[in-house]
Every structure is written in C-alpha cells, then in structure tokens.
C-alpha cells in the first residue's frame, strides 16, 4: 500500500499496523462475524465504476474492512418447510457488526470509518458492491449462481466499512469454492450443475453457464426475473399489488386483494425487513459449496 503523507504521531505504521489489524479482526469475530478480511481501497478502481469506489465515499480511503456471516444455519437449509427461509433472513446481524467495526476504528484508532449503507441511492445500484468487497478482501469468490461463496463457510451475508486506516491488506483468494467437486462430477456426467438445473434460464429460470476446465463460467443471468423471485414479498411486491388493487374496479375483488395473503405477507416483509430479506434460496439450497464444510448430525 502506498501512502505519500508523512506519518504523524499516533499513525499506524509498521508493526503497529499489523497489531491494529489483528485487534480489529479479533473484535469483528467477537462481535459476531464468521469471517473478516481487509481489501485495498485502490483495488476497487479497476473493477468498480466511478462514484462507486471507496474514495468516492470517503476521501483518503485506504482500506475496506469486510465482515461476513449471519448466513442461514445448517438446520435452516435442511428444513422441509420452504416458508422457513423465506420468512427468516438474518442479514441484520452482520450489519450490526459492520457498524460496530466503524465505531471502533474511529473511537479507538482515530481514523475515519464509513459504514457502507446496505441500501441503494437509487434503483438497484449499491453505493459500494459488497460482493466485490468480499472478493477483494479474500473472503470468497463468485459462484455460478451469483453469490460470493466462502471456501469454508459457503454462502454468507456481507457488510463493509471504508476507512482511512492503513490496515494490512488481504489479497483476493484464488481458491474458489465454486464449482464444488460434486458439481464437477455432475458436469462430466450430465452437463449441468445443481444450481443450473434447479433454475435454468431456458426453462423459466434465472441462470445459465458451464464449466470450462473445471472453472465456473456464467454465460447469462436474468437479474430482473431473479429479483422478482428473491423479493416476492417486499417493496416491489407491495408496489405491484397496490397497482393491481387500484386498477381493480370491482369492490369485492379489491377487498380480497387488500386482505389477501400476498398483500399481507408483503406488509409483513416490509415491516420486518431485517428478518424477511428474501424468499427464494433455491440455487443456494441446491449448492453443495454453499453450506460450509462442517458435517452436522
């Protein structure tokens, strides 16, 4: 990492940087993160568009601390009711860890820290891609299905903090979790993978891709379709059912729409947005790399 400014008293330099990085990571893990890594802020420049890079959010940004965790538990994945995962998200917990890290960097180390807002400024574009941040911090790699998968823990939720602190940087990992060995075998046999089979683009699904020399190559992804399935009951669902209700001339049918399960579940999902974050997990449910390595009894 290059820093042209001469160090001032109290600045992190040399061994102090390593020590501070270790303390910060320990705090993140103690606060509830499953994994933590640090990306070089400058590394985003070649991947992220202008206005969506760390220095666009925080002038002088040097590093991005990324925490991952709060993923569905092993029991959630094997539960037989589809309603369990579709009404029980857990992302809010990892965002709390991100906020805590930001406050600790400022109050304990004296460097600026900006918790990357999990929402969007407009449309679907995030302020800073948390997926890219996780990749650059060496915490995971992109999967054929889309989500970043951690080699040890699989599918996770992410939170990031942009900071002027010059923490020791973790480089991106080359050890990809996707494709899993079982998926390579399946590709050899059937020319598909669990995620591609469960949600094929050419049969009303969202995903298309292949394995080239054992590497996952995504060839197409229908983001709009995926969004309507992942967020069936959220802001978009509310907008849809509201429009349908207002367009309905029949009073009785309008009443049915307002009190119907769709409208009711949509309102629940909006008010409990932190615990009802997504309704479709099928590509991740089928993915052998998404559930981590630990065998459960």
């Amino acid at each position: 990492m290059t820093d042209e400014r001469a160090p001032a008293k109290g600045d992190l330099v040399g061994p102090a940087t390593t020590s501070a990085t270790a303390r910060l990571k320990a705090l993140a893990l103690k606060s509830g993160a499953t994994v933590v890594g640090v990306a070089d802020a400058a590394a985003f420049d070649t991947h992220a568009p202008s206005k969506h890079r760390p220095a666009d959010l925080l002038p002088g940004a040097r590093t991005v601390v990324v925490v991952g965790g709060a993923q569905p538990r092993a029991g959630d994945w094997v539960a037989t009711s589809p309603w369990l995962l579709s009404t029980m998200g857990t992302t809010e917990r990892i965002q709390g860890v991100g906020r805590r890290i930001a406050q600790a960097i400022e109050s304990e180390l004296g460097y600026y820290a900006l918790f990357v807002p999990p929402g969007t400024a407009a449309g679907d574009a995030p302020f800073l891609s948390l997926m890219l941040a996780a990749e650059l911090a060496g915490l995971g790699t992109r999967s054929l299905a889309g989500p970043i998968l951690n080699r040890d823990h699989g599918f996770m939720y992410w939170s990031a903090v942009v900071t002027t602190a010059p923490f020791d940087v973790d480089g991106p990992t080359t050890d990809a979790a996707c494709p899993a060995p079982a998926c390579r075998d399946m590709w050899e046999r059937e020319h598909t993978t669990p995620c591609l089979r469960v949600c094929p683009l050419d049969a009303g699904g969202c995903l298309a891709g292949r394995l080239d020399d054992g590497h996952a190559v995504r060839t197409a992804y229908d983001a709009a379709r995926c969004n309507t399935r992942v967020h069936t009951h959220w802001v978009g669902g509310f907008q849809k059912v509201l429009e349908e209700t207002l367009n309905e001339p029949d009073r009785e049918r309008r009443k049915m729409l307002v009190y119907g399960d769709f409208m009711t579940r949509t309102l629940w999902s909006i008010t409990y947005s932190s615990t009802n974050i997504a309704q479709c997990f099928e590509c991740m449910r089928a993915c052998p790399a998404a559930h981590g390595l630990k065998e459960m009894r």
Partner: protein, 280 residues
C-alpha cells in the same frame, strides 16, 4: 435513595451496552415543565428516577462523505435503546425495582408520550440549540437519546450549568456578523438571536424542517400514496407507484434505522463535538 455505587453500577451497564453517555434525572423534576399526562409517573406509577442514554449518530467518516445520499441511509446502531433495555434488565433483576423504557414515538401528530429531549436536558446530558432545538451534548454534539423510567430512587445529575449552544466560536461569529453557522446554513427553517453569548430567542419552522429532515418516511409515504390513489390515469398511476420516490418511501418504512433522516445541514456545520469528527 440508592447510593452512588448503585447509580455508578447502573451507568456502567448502560455504557457497556453501547451508550456514549448516561445521566439520571429525578422523576419529580419533570413536573415543572411537562404537562400532566406526559410525566414519568403518568407512565409508571411510583416513578422516582429517569435514566437517559445518549448514543452515537453517524460516524465521522459518514459526515465526511461527499455523496449526500450516504448520510440519508447511513444506518445507525440505535444502541441507546439497547443500553436502556440492558439497564432496565439490571434494575429489575438485580435491584428489584420496576423499570420500563420511556415511550418516545409520537402518538398524536409530532407529540411523544414523553420527551427524550427534555429528559436529556434534565439528566444533565445536553442543552437545546439554535439548530431546531436539537439537544447538544457539550462533548459529543449530536447524540440520539432514549430513557428509562424506574421506581428506583437514584441520585440525579444536575442539568448543565453552561449551555452547549452557542459554542464560543458561534458566539464570536454572531458578534462579528450577526449569525451562526446553523442559522446561516438554514435560514429557511431556523431563526434566533443571541445576547451575552447566550441564546436569547430561538424558533424554527417545524413543518418545513420535518419535510426536509424526513423526505423519505411515513409522511412521504402518506403523501405519495394519496397522490397515487387520487390519480385516475392507470398509466400515470403505474409511473407513480414504481417511481424512485415511492420506492424509497416504502423502503424507509422497512429500513427505518437506516433511513432516519435525509437532511443534516444544521448539524454538519455545528462546531459542538466537532473534535470527535476530526480524525486521521
């Protein structure tokens, strides 16, 4: 009356749970300035004390961000509420006195059952400012406040002898050019006068301030929904329903703690607590 050791223990629980500051007011102190029905004993019979916790707002990094939209949805811990619950649990379980979180969300118009601003003042945590009367802590400036009401009699902290606002720099500026940073940055909402380096008069246009501070929230949802319902043309109605304004208004309902306010300009220029916003 509980000993100083007990009040210190209660405060330690609050600080350990994430509060930046904790103070205590006597429940009886609310009688002088609060109408009947809105006092601690109207909420918890036999109330003796009110413990107030102040929590951090945006980080210094968030204040520094040149993209104003980040501050609009920056996300808060709202740890003051957690700290209040931790202290309530401690008082009930360890000390055996009733303790409830003081209700602070409006029940009629903008009116809460109990004022957190007044509670913070009486607990010695801050004083009202020129900037929309926001309570400023002399050390940290803008904080977010929550309170608990308890039957535990605790020694109270006195209200601050010296007001946090005006800051000496603002008093000097007023003397020079007859205004302060906050009054200058938002003459639409704020007005006031100073005498002998003290606030003499201070008023603000609450309706105007509210519509700016909460561009996206319950009010904007109600406004947008009414416009949608009143629109007869289905194509225009569709545009309105799927617009950014409507979508962000609905999002702000769900992600309230990530979208508390959209205007921070009077606080952005306020020097009180700024030392904590100047980092490396």
């Amino acid at each position: 009356m509980a000993t100083d050791g007990v009040v210190d223990a209660v405060k330690r629980v609050g600080l350990a749970a994430g509060a930046r500051v904790v103070g205590v007011a006597a429940a009886a102190a609310f009688r002088a300035g609060v109408p009947e029905g809105f006092r601690p004993e109207d909420i918890l019979p036999g109330a003796r004390s009110v413990v107030v916790a102040g929590g951090d707002g945006p980080t210094a990094g968030a204040w520094r961000c040149p993209d104003h939209r980040v501050m609009e949805i920056t996300g808060y811990d709202l740890r003051e509420n957690v700290a209040i619950h931790a202290m309530c649990d401690y008082i009930e379980r360890e000390l055996g006195y009733y303790a409830v979180q003081a209700p602070s969300l409006p029940v009629h118009g903008h009116e809460p059952p109990m004022s957190m601003m007044h509670a913070a003042e009486l607990a010695g945590l801050g004083t009202r400012s020129f900037a929309a009367h926001i309570i400023l802590n002399p050390e940290y400036g803008l904080l977010y406040y929550a309170a608990l009401i308890t039957t535990l009699p605790l020694p109270a902290d006195p209200p601050l002898a010296e007001p946090a606002c005006p800051h000496p720099g603002c008093a000097a500026m007023y003397k020079r050019i007859g205004t302060t940073p906050c009054l200058r940055v938002c003459p639409a909402c704020l007005s006031g006068t100073m005498k002998n380096a003290r606030i003499e008069t201070s008023t603000y246009d609450r309706e105007k301030c509210h519509s700016r501070a909460q561009t996206y929230g319950i009010g904007s949802f109600q406004k947008a929904l009414l416009a949608v319902v009143d629109e007869d043309d289905p194509a225009r109605r569709r545009d309105m329903i799927h617009s950014d304004f409507f979508a962000k208004s609905v999002q702000s309902l769900g992600f309230f703690r990530d979208s508390i306010a959209q205007c921070f300009e009077c606080m952005r220029v306020c020097p009180v607590g700024r030392k904590h916003r100047k980092l490396k």
